[in-house]
C-alpha cells in the first residue's frame, strides 16, 4: 500500500470507530466484550470515541499533508486502548474471548500506525522539491546561462562558488545553517537547450540529484524552466527540521532561487528592497527589516 493510502485508511478507520463509540458506547463496549456501566460508558465515549474522531480529523483534514503528530498520537492511543482492555480482562466484567480478540485487533492497528508514522517521517528526510518559472528570454540564452555553472551563485543565494573540474565534474560550496557544505557533482544527462541532470558524488555533504529542464512556453511567452531536486538532507530528519527553522527548507530555497534567476535573466539584477536587502528569501520574509534605508556597511 502506498504511504498516502495507508495513512488515509487509518484516518477513515478512526472515524468509523469514533462515531459508534461516541453515539452508542454501551453497544460498542458489549461488542468488544466489556460489560457496560456508567464508568465504561464515559471512558468509551470520551477517551476512545472523541479521541478517534480527533485522530480522523487530524489525518484527513488538519494535518493532511504530513500527519506525523496525529499518527504518533494514534500510537499512544493504541497503547491506552490495550491498557484499558487489559484492565477489563483482569476483572469479571469482561468476556475473555471477545476482549482478547479486540486486543489482537488493536495490536494490529498499532503496528500499522507505527509503520505509517515511520513512513511519513522518512519521506520527510528524503525531500523532493519541484518548482517552475517562466522567463521572457529565448530558450538558448536561458540554457546557456545556467549551463555555465559559474553563473549560478549570481542568483542562488546560498551558493558560494562552483568550480569546474575535468570530465564534466564540478565542485560546489554553499552556506548552510551551520558553517558551509561542499560536494562534488557529475552530469548524468544533458541535451543542449533542453535538459541538464546531475547527481552528487559519493561522500558529499549534501547527497542529492536534480534536473533542470527548459521548454518553450506556448505562444511566444518565453522559456519555462522546471527544476526537480531530490535530497537526502544532512542529519536526516533532524537536519531537515533545523533547516526549516532557519527558513532554508529546500522547496522555498528553490522557489527563491528561481525568482532571482528570472530577475537576473530579464532585468540584469536582483530586485532588492529595504525590507529584503538580499532579494527574494524565505528566511528574510519571516524577519523583515523595517522599510527604511540600510546603513552603509550594515550586513
Amino acid at each position: 500500500m502506498t504511504d498516502e493510502r495507508l495513512t488515509s485508511a487509518l484516518g477513515w478507520a478512526s472515524l468509523g470507530l469514533g462515531v459508534p463509540q461516541l453515539l452508542a458506547p454501551d453497544r460498542f463496549a458489549r461488542a468488544v466484550g466489556v460489560r457496560p456501566g456508567a464508568r465504561t460508558r464515559v471512558i468509551t465515549a470520551v477517551a476512545c470515541g472523541a479521541r478517534e474522531l480527533a485522530a480522523g480529523a487530524g489525518i484527513l483534514a488538519l494535518e493532511r499533508r504530513r500527519p506525523l503528530r496525529t499518527l504518533r498520537a494514534r500510537v499512544a492511543g493504541d497503547l491506552l486502548d490495550l491498557a484499558l482492555l487489559g484492565a477489563a480482562l483482569g476483572t469479571r466484567r469482561a468476556d475473555p474471548r471477545r476482549a482478547g480478540a479486540a486486543m489482537a485487533a488493536v495490536a494490529g492497528v498499532a503496528a500499522a500506525d507505527v509503520v505509517a508514522a515511520r513512513r511519513v517521517s522518512r519521506a520527510d528526510a528524503n525531500l523532493r522539491a519541484r518548482a517552475a518559472v517562466t522567463i521572457r528570454r529565448p530558450r538558448a540564452d536561458v540554457y546557456a546561462f545556467w549551463r555555465d555553472f559559474a553563473n549560478l551563485p549570481a542568483f542562488m543565494l546560498h551558493l558560494e562558488s562552483v568550480k569546474l573540474a575535468r570530465n564534466g565534474r564540478s565542485h560546489w560550496k554553499a552556506r548552510a545553517p551551520i558553517g558551509t557544505v561542499e560536494w562534488d557533482a557529475e552530469i548524468v544527462d544533458e541535451r543542449p537547450g533542453e535538459l541538464i541532470a546531475w547527481r552528487s558524488l559519493h561522500g558529499s555533504d549534501v547527497e542529492h540529484e536534480g534536473s533542470v529542464c527548459f521548454r518553450e512556453a506556448p505562444g511566444d511567452r518565453g522559456t519555462e524552466v522546471h527544476v526537480e531536486l531530490r535530497y537526502a538532507a544532512r542529519g536526516g530528519s533532524a537536519g531537515v527540521a533545523l533547516s526549516k527553522l532557519t527558513g532554508e527548507e529546500p522547496r522555498q530555497q528553490l522557489n527563491d532561487d528561481l525568482r532571482r534567476f528570472k530577475q537576473v535573466m530579464e532585468t540584469g539584477e536582483v530586485a532588492r528592497s529595504e525590507g529584503s536587502p538580499e532579494g527574494h528569501s524565505a528566511r528574510r520574509q519571516l524577519k523583515q527589516r523595517p522599510a527604511q534605508p540600510v546603513e552603509v556597511g550594515a550586513p
Binding site: T134, R136, R221, G222, Q252, N255, D256, R259, K262, Q263, E266, T267, G268, E269, V270, A271, R272, S273, E274, G275, S276, P277, G279, H280, S281, A282, Q285, Q288, R289, P290, A291, Q292, P293, V294, E295, V296
Partner: protein, 392 residues
Amino acid sequence: MRATVYSGRNRVQVEQVPDPRIVNPRDAVVRITSTAICGSDLHLYDGYIPTTKRGDVLGHEFMGEVVEKGSEVANLQLGDRVVVPFPIACGNCTPCQRELYSLCENSNPNAAMAEKLWGHAACGIYGYSHLMGGYAGGQAEYARVPFADVGPIKIEDGLADEQVLPLADVFPTGYMGAENCEIEPGDTIAVWGAGPVGQLAVASARLLGAERVIAIDRFGYRLRMALERAGATDVIDYEEQPDVVAALKEMTGGRGPDACIDAAGMEAHHARLPVHAYDRVKQAARLETERPHALREAIMACRNGGIVSVVGVYGGVVDKFPMGSVMNRSLTIKSGQTHVQRYLRPLLERIERGDVDPSFVFTHTMSLDDAPQGYETFKHKRDECMKVVLKP
C-alpha cells in the same frame, strides 16, 4: 535624512533614518521636492494593510531632483526634475511589455508573501507594506528609485510641482478608472468617493466624453469641488439620500449608470448605521479585511451589461459580495493597481496643453516635519482637507 515613519496604528513620526544609496545599477536617488499623502496611505495609517511594520518609511507619491544614478541609468541626468510613478516596474517582463506595469513580475522581492494572500503577487510599491516589497517610501528628504530607467518621467520647467505631482498616482488612477468604463457618447458614469482619486476620475470621465458624471460622497465640500472644479454634472450626498441605488435609478430614467467607479475602497461608510456597524465590527475583528459598501452599491446600481470599475484599494476578502447581481446582469468588473507608467506621457501632455490642471485637489501644503498633523487633518477631513502636499 528625515522621513515619515509608521509607528503603529494612527501614529506616524518624522524621524532621522539613514540616507538612501544606490544598491543596483538601475537605481537612482531622488532629492524630494514635493510628496503627497494618499488616501490609500490612510489604510496603512488605520492599520488595515497587513505586513506594515513599525519603522517603515511611508509615501508613494513623490517627485524631485535626480542626485545620484546607477551605471545602467542612461535616460536621466543628475539634476533632472522627475515625477516617480508609484508602481516599481522593470520594463522587461511580459506584463511590463504589455504595459501592465503594476503586475511587474520582478520588482517585488516579497512576492512569496503576496502569493499566500492573493495566489499570485503584484509589483513592488514604495512605502506600501512588506507584501508590496518592503520598499522605503517617499515622504522623506530622499528616496531610492529602483529601475529608474523605466519609471520616472522628466518634467520641464514651467509647471509647478503641484501640477505634475498628481501624475505619481491619483491622476493616472482616476484616469484608468474612467478609461476602464469604455465610455461611449451619451454615457452616464457614477463615481463613489469624491476624494482626490474620485475628483480626477470625474474629470477624466468628462475628458473621455461622458455625458453625465454623478459624484457620490457625504461631505458637502467634496461634492462642491466635484461640481465646481472636476466637472461633475450631478452629486448625491448619501447621508441625505441613503438609498443611492434608487436615487441613481431615478436620475437615469430607471436604467442605472452605464458604468460605476468605486473610488472609495476598503474603508467606505454607509449611511445606515446597522449596515455600517456590521462590516465595521467584522473588519475590527479581522473577520473580513474590507468594508465594501461602495463596491456593493456600485454593483447593484450599474445598468444591465454595464461595467464596474474598481480603483479604490482592497487588500483581502469581502463579505456579502453580490455575485448574483454580477452574473445574472452580465456585469463586467475591471480593476487593478494603476499601470501608471502607461499614462505618464499622455497625461503630462494633457496638463501641458491645459486640458486639465489636477493641482486643484491640493488643499493643504505643510512642511515634512508636520506629516503627523497632515495625516490627522486628512483622515478626519478637518478644515475641508482634500489632499496634503509635504515639502521636505
